[in-house]
């Protein structure tokens, strides 16, 4: 004898399985993309990094060569210095700018438009323009030497580390600025007013109310800036001069010396370094926001 409730249960479980199947079917194209265009190329890069050109078999020789050479440690160091300095500089630009813009001063819509420019214009065009502006005979040096009375010698900015950091900040700070702005404008002004009324000085309001409340935006924006600066390729390629970050070193290895295994090994090292850095960063900032 079959009782009706068990029939109902079977019906439900069948429904559930059919539902699962549909979900899997919907996820299928995404899965194919993820494996075909990301995981598989990543594996190819990795296996490629274990070979040596003109030899058969696998070995860790490329990694040993790279990590025992001072030249490549220098490259890794420059990449980190560039990425971290750019992130710090972009936060230093983003915070005052966001605090000013949320007051809706005159002309704030124009400035908001300007923030978007570096995001939509080809990075190479901007880099070309920056190279001309900051040149030895460029407008900035003309201003410094002809308008300001206390500087006589034109500054050398192009193809120096400081210049590169400046260019990176031009390109990638909008990410920090936008995220900081959106989180600062999301703060309930009543909270800050309450702090002011109960006797907090403007700096204390900023330090204990505004900054903690906008921390999530600053954090995600600066992570984005760091990631982009770490993986930046086109700008150092034309404006880097002697300062070659990892990306340019990889491209030179593959494109100029045609040594793909070595380039692949360097690329894998870059990926691992970035993941490690992101994990450390999240741990640090989580602790701070919890405290």
């Amino acid at each position: 004898m079959r009782n009706p409730s068990s029939g109902f249960l079977i019906f439900i479980s069948m429904q559930f399985k059919k539902d699962n199947l549909l979900t899997l079917l919907l996820l299928f194209p995404g899965l194919v993309f993820f494996i075909g265009l990301f995981i598989y190329p990543l594996c190819i890069t990795f296996t490629n990094s274990l070979t040596i050109s003109n030899h058969t078999g696998y070995s860790l020789q490329n990694y040993i060569d790279l990590l025992s050479s001072a030249k490549y440690w220098n490259v890794i160091g420059i990449t980190f210095v560039l990425a971290i300095s750019t992130t710090i500089l972009s936060v230093l630009i983003a915070l005052p700018l966001a605090l000013i813009l949320r007051k809706r001063v005159k002309g704030h819509t124009f400035i908001r438009l300007l923030i978007l420019l570096p995001l939509t214009v080809l990075a190479l065009i901007s880099a070309l323009g920056l190279l001309i502006v900051w040149d030895k005979n460029g407008w900035v040096n003309l201003f410094l030497t002809q308008v300001l009375p206390f500087i006589d010698e034109p500054l050398k900015i192009n193809y120096t580390l400081y210049g590169l950091i400046l260019f990176y900040a031009w390109l990638y700070s909008p990410h920090t600025i936008l995220m900081t702005l959106s989180s600062i404008e999301g703060i309930d002004r009543n909270v800050e007013q309450a702090a002011t009324i109960t006797g907090a000085k403007p700096f204390e309001v900023f330090r204990y109310i505004t900054l903690p409340l906008s921390m999530s935006g600053i954090r995600s924006g600066s992570v984005m800036t760091f990631l982009l600066a770490f993986g930046a390729f086109n700008v150092p390629l034309i404006a880097g001069g002697n300062y070659r970050p990892l990306t340019v070193a990889i491209y030179t290895e593959a494109g100029v010396f045609n040594n793909w295994p070595k380039a692949s090994a360097l690329a894998i090292i870059m990926g691992i370094l970035e993941i490690i850095f992101i994990l450390i960063y999240f741990k640090l900032t989580k602790k701070r926001s919890a405290a």
Binding site: P29, L119, L246, M270
Partner: protein
Amino acid sequence: MNPITHSIRAVRTGKKVVIYAFLLGFALFILSPFAVIIVSAFGEGWFGARWLPESWGIRWFQWAFQMTDLVQVTMNSFVIAALTIVISLLIGVPTAWAIGKRKLRAKELLIALILLPRMIPELTYALGTAKIFYTLDLINTHLGVALAHSTITIPYVVLIMSATFEALEQRVIDAGGVCGANWFQRFLYLVIPMSMPGILAAVIFVFVTSFNEFTLSMMTYGPQTVTLPIQTYLSIGDGYKEVASAISVILLIPSILILGVIVKQIKPENLSGGVKGL
């Protein structure tokens, strides 16, 4: 006037001066590269320490059109961007629906996984992509470059569209079902119109990313699929700053148009989105 109000007023104007000096500095910092490119593209005889060139003309533009096939290059960029949009939507939308509307066990993990191509530097997997595309004969085809671009655009489509689908009013869709619409009609007449802002944001986003993508194009392009960023790079490499400036002025036009659309259509902070939830 009372000396206290006087000094308060002085402090206020001082503050205003500082604020506007900061804004002016920022505006000049951002705008100067564009101004200088336009001046250098239209100027002739601009050497040494001079504020402006000796004379003006369009000589560098004539050079640019003689030296490169700019029309073909622009066409390539648009075709590749269009293909990338189609591929990204076809693959991204079903996945986004599964994440936004269906019960999934490890949703957070799935989203983190999907964002991985964006977190890891492109070159890490672009080297492998280039190797695979060589064996599949996808190098130097529009489809190949578009597929490579899709690697970084699909994560954004999934992210934007799953948030859009999640916010849809399920009762409206159910009501459509009660009134006799089958799933296809519900999708066509209810889901698509209701999620139009999200779709539009995703399309603009994919277009901008593909149009400006350099690294992945660099690894997969060939003589027939030179895109605008690649052409700019090649021209700068040729050493003629003025010709490169002239090409750049032409390239600026679509970028400015895109900026106009973005300002009207989507929230600017979505542009750098992706890691917002982390």
